[in-house]
Amino acid sequence: PTIREVRIRNFKSFRSLNLPLLPGITGITGPNGSGKSNLLESIAFVLGHRGRGLRAARLGNLVSRGARRAEVTLKIATRSGERTVSRGIRGSTGFYRIGGRIVPRYRAELLLRELGYRADWYTYVAQGTVTRLVEMSPRERVGIVEEIS
């Protein structure tokens, strides 16, 4: 499957964005503080990445300053047609949508998993963390293999 479009509403520094995406390698560049990491985080957020990679102590801190609601939608082209999956925050609680309709979290996570999207450590290397993969202890590293065995 391929993400065809990312639609962002009030996620961190992005107020409103409809960004078409293509297969292959897409480079993202720009000055410090422009919003590059926020853009990657918005995608990681829908795909289920949590914690340190989103640089926010509370879910509510992901909502754009001054707004009350944030939502990120991924339009995913699959072999059997197009699916849209969204994740959002209202106040400080999260919500999920499939095809525009609110669904419980496990349903959205199930769909993503069926499409092959897993929030594994190796699918999102957050800023400043690349050498951590090698600096882990040999015991911790076994966790890497457990996920793929």
Partner: protein, 152 residues
Amino acid sequence: RDGALADAVGRLAEAFSKIYGEVSGGSARMWLSGSWPDAALEIEVIPPGKPPTRLESLSGGEKSVAALALVAAVAAVRPSPIYLFDEADAMLDAENCRRFAKILRILAYSGSQVLVVSLKRETLSEADRILGVTDSGGRSRVVGVDLSRYPG
């Protein structure tokens, strides 16, 4: 349990050695020590032209290349439809940025989408297209970027 782990490590170790060797010209090994549940995954990396050394004494750039080869090795064993990299080339010199770009190409070749944030021309020049992100007054926007105008 031990069997499944040993099998996964076998495949991962083969992919890791192959990719690290191809991309950097050095050699890398991986093996399981101990048994379930106290098993540990050992790694040895020998950068090109260097004698074998402890993982802790590799340089920042050498560790980054090893880690990125590991990502590609895991991806070979268990592919993902998308990979996100946020300035993973921050400590890399020009030569190693080109190695990073080779790794990105390996990931994309198998059909995955790869989004790579970078400030470095050597990495960005390998991308199929480049998006520019700008900020005005705290609000971010995205524009298309032409590499030939990219400041070195």
